[in-house]
């Protein structure tokens, strides 16, 4: 059981936690957070699995770096859309 493998297993736990949250929670904000948790789990699995034999693999690290930035952008867009869900368009057009 190398540290990399432990990270990957923890990533699976985060992913499953986020998935259950996405199904069970009703508030849009909490669902966005749960979805983010799933994404973090996937990143942890990617990076952890790549270095389970001790060596560091730069390719998954670069992919995860890309993924983190895209996840930030997707979260911001999701927040803007969730806000539109709470405050419908006709209310703001006066």
């Amino acid at each position: 059981m190398t540290p990399g493998l432990i990270y990957a297993l923890a990533g699976v736990a985060l992913f499953v936690l986020g998935l259950a949250g996405l199904i069970l929670l009703t508030s849009a904000l909490r669902r966005i957070l749960a979805f983010n948790l799933m994404g973090s789990g996937v990143f942890l699995v990617l990076v952890g699995l790549a270095q389970r034999d001790g060596g560091v693999d730069p390719v998954p690290q670069a992919m995860v770096l890309t993924g983190i930035v895209v996840a930030v952008a997707a979260t911001a867009l999701a927040l803007a859309l969730a806000r539109r869900l709470v405050i419908p368009l006709e209310k703001t057009e006066k």
Binding site: V16, L65, T66, V70, L77
Partner: protein, 231 residues
């Protein structure tokens, strides 16, 4: 829906989902533990081509050279997300928030001292990316947090509608990257740098990316901040 008499449906649903999630987690962990050894030697392939990449840090080499098109598309996605946020705002909904009401001299002085240092750190990270952990994304994140800090201390208003200089800044990194890719298309394939100019080209692209990523990431915050509260 089937529910036992006297047992609330949400209770059943919660247990059902919880148990299924635990089962899925167990199966996934089992799969990870049983995974066969890796067939392709990616770290070896990266190490073998490092000399031709123009930089000395493997992650930067993968991001900007070996898989440069991923990064190109990623910046496009970021730009699209910001445009989407603007599109989701109703016309006339964005308004400059009150920035002058929080008059905290200690906080403002601290922000004024720290922000120049953050810009310096961003420049260092950009330069350091060639041979140690760092690069355009980290530098852009530091720039964006400097902008957020300025907004939170009331020194920078939220963005309402961007004018031409800001639009150019937001799209500039992507355009520089795209122009380089198109220019190099004449050499044979997309984003294959000639080894002798690779280092300079990567630094050029990264400099543009740092500025644009900083502005875009700051925009993700400042656009949300400019939307008026519930009417």
């Amino acid at each position: 829906m089937i529910a036992w008499p006297g047992v609330p449906l949400t209770f059943v649903k919660r247990w059902l989902v919880g148990l299924s999630a635990i089962a899925l987690g167990g199966a996934l962990m089992r799969a990870i533990l049983d995974l066969p050894a890796v067939g392709v030697d990616l770290p070896g392939a990266v190490a073998a081509n490092m000399a031709a990449s123009g930089v000395e840090h493997p992650v930067t080499a993968v991001l900007l050279n070996f898989r440069g098109y991923d990064t190109l598309l990623e910046v496009a996605v970021l730009l699209l997300a910001l445009l989407g946020m603007w599109a989701a705002a109703a016309p006339g909904e964005t308004a400059p928030t009150q920035v002058a009401d929080r008059d905290d001299p200690v906080l403002r002085t601290l922000a004024r001292l720290i922000v120049p240092l953050m810009i310096l750190v961003a420049g260092y990270l950009l330069w350091a990316g060639a041979h140690r952990p760092g690069g355009a994304f980290q530098a852009g994140a530091v720039l964006a947090s400097a902008a957020v800090l300025l907004h939170l201390t009331g020194l920078l208003p939220a963005w309402t509608s961007p004018r031409l200089p800001l639009r150019l800044g937001l799209a500039g990194g992507f355009l520089v990257f795209l122009a380089t890719a198109v220019f190099l298309l004449g050499e044979g394939s997309l984003l294959r740098y000639p080894p002798e100019h690779a280092g300079a080209l990567i630094l050029f692209i990264e400099a543009g990316l740092t500025l644009s990523l900083g502005l875009i990431l700051a925009g993700l915050f400042l656009v949300l901040a400019s939307l008026r509260a519930r009417p």
